[in-house]
């Protein structure tokens, strides 16, 4: 197969995929960050 030089992809699928993994990760990090203030109190 000849080399591809461009990968445009399906923008909607790309967005959905990143939201599916990004939102839980951000939620987990946020909940953890909420535990930090007590350290520097």
């Amino acid at each position: 197969m000849p080399n591809e030089t461009k990968t445009t992809g399906n923008a909607v699928m790309l967005m959905i995929s990143w939201i599916v993994v990004g939102v839980p990760l951000i939620w987990g990090v946020y909940k953890t960050l909420m535990k930090l203030p007590v350290l520097f109190h």
Partner: protein, 458 residues
């Protein structure tokens, strides 16, 4: 040809390679739950008594074996099934990992209902552990092939997910147990069922969207090197040859000691900060300290590994090991200075490099052995993690107990362990500096023959 076969996952024209990191993250964010398994420990010790432990309830040492078994089977399955993973491709591997990990949770739920600990050992420890190992290595070689221009960033992103999965896993598990608990149940079994279903679906999502690049695909504008330079080879080494090279064992020691040292901090983070700063840091603040270390552990995986794409793998490990050794020696100094901020900053940088060590190793292996079977080679190298998982806590706990029994307190209780960890990192540094390009005789000659099942790779 089935839906899960490698041939069905070859990307068509127009496929964006940026869909592959979310697939990898879906798997790693799920299996990262393993780091959060400790949230079930106390409720499991009250499986019968519900509000407090009663004589027939499980004890903490009995329950500790669940996590130990899971980590052991993570390393063992990654080492044993690495070649199979390379042969069948990422979709089938991720689906198998989803079945094992999700199924392990469901089986463990029955173990709680029947109050049979061996069922949990088998469910979460053995079957779930195999899911961890398969899931951990499943996206590595695919990512390296999609991102030949930035392998450190790509694998760092996935392995960062393993660190991030702990944050999701701990909070999700606590919420589920709160939801399911009642006067007659701790809610652990029901939470296991829910987690099994959630993680199975989440990992299957990764399995469905993952694709492998067509043969000889390359990113737009990327010109691969035509000749090997420095440690970066243009050749390939099979997994069976790779582990006969000195380079494999040098990196095995590097990873083992880097992880051992990091666990030395993680294992004792909470009691250490409280005992080094008596009266200044209480239990709640120590919990915040552990959370901060986990964040640096996760962030370091992505940042350090991405940084290695610019400065090279060997130099970045020189930083981990040399700076790490210096910082370990500074921990007692920080303790004696009475500065909590100084102490926290030193530990945070150390933990970022602990995570970085995990995340950069696949790219280091790709540089030395080529991309062809890097997932399988990585799988075998993960046995270093299994060894470190035992070595680190054993060293740290025995030294601490020995000193405590001799009446030692405060900073002096931890100083010898920190110096020992610094020593291990210096040995790792020497091993890293000894890494040279792989000798020509180890290079594979015929790639198609090698990928055939049962082919000889001698």
């Amino acid at each position: 040809m089935g839906f899960f076969d490698r041939e069905q996952t070859v990307a068509g024209p127009g496929f964006s390679r940026w869909l592959v990191p979310p697939a990898a993250l879906a798997v790693h964010l799920s299996i990262g739950q393993a780091y959060a398994f400790s949230v079930f420990k106390i409720p499991l010790t009250r499986a019968i008594g519900i509000t407090k432990s009663v004589p027939n309830d499980w004890t903490q040492p009995e329950l500790a074996w669940i996590f130990s078994l899971a980590i052991f089977f993570l390393g063992a399955s990654a080492a044993v099934f690495g070649r199979w993973v390379e042969r069948v491709g990422p979709r089938k591997t991720m689906a198998t990992a989803a079945l094992c990990f999700g199924g392990g949770f469901i089986l463990s739920a029955f173990g709680v209902w029947w109050h049979q600990l061996w069922v949990i050992y088998l469910g979460y420890g053995v079957i779930g552990g195999c899911g961890l190992g398969l899931g951990y290595i499943s996206p590595v070689s695919t990512l390296v092939k999609w991102f030949p221009d930035r392998p450190g960033m790509a694998t760092g992103m996935a392995i960062m997910g393993f660190g991030g999965g702990a944050f999701i896993g701990s909070n999700l598990s606590l919420n589920l147990m709160d939801y399911f608990k009642s006067p007659t149940t701790t809610g652990v079994a029901q939470s296991f069922v829910a987690l099994g279903i959630i993680y199975f679906c989440y990992m299957m999502f990764g399995s469905l969207i993952v694709r492998v690049p067509p043969e000889d695909w390359k990113p737009a504008g990327y010109q691969p090197a035509t000749t090997s330079h420095g440690l970066i080879t243009t050749e390939n080494v099979t997994v069976d040859c790779a582990w006969r090279t000195p380079q494999f064992w040098l990196l095995w020691i590097v990873l083992c000691f880097n992880v051992t040292a990091g666990i030395g901090i993680l294992e004792q983070a909470s009691p250490m900060i409280q005992e080094m700063f008596p009266g200044k840091v209480l239990a709640a603040a120590a919990g915040g300290f552990v959370a901060l270390l986990s964040l640096f552990n996760m962030g370091g995986r992505f940042l350090w590994s991405s940084f290695s794409d610019y400065i090279g793998r060997k130099p970045v490990y020189v930083i981990y090991l040399l700076l790490g050794a210096i910082l370990y020696c500074l921990i007692p100094v920080a303790g004696r200075s009475g500065s909590v901020i100084f102490f926290v900053a030193v530990c945070a940088v150390i933990l970022s490099m602990y995570g970085g060590g995990f995340a950069t190793i696949p790219a280091y292996l790709k540089d030395l052995f080529g991309a062809m079977q890097v997932g399988a080679i990585h799988g075998r190298l993960l046995t270093a993690w299994s060894v470190a998982g035992i070595l680190g806590p054993v060293l740290v706990n025995y030294i601490r107990e020995y000193l405590k029994n001799r009446g030692v307190t405060g900073v002096d209780l931890y100083a010898p362990t920190m110096y020992l960890m610094a020593g291990l990192l210096v040995i790792g540094l020497i091993c890293n500096l000894s890494v040279r390009p792989v000798a020509d005789r180890f290079y594979a000659r015929n790639r198609r023959e090698i990928l055939k099942p049962g082919a000889s790779h001698a």
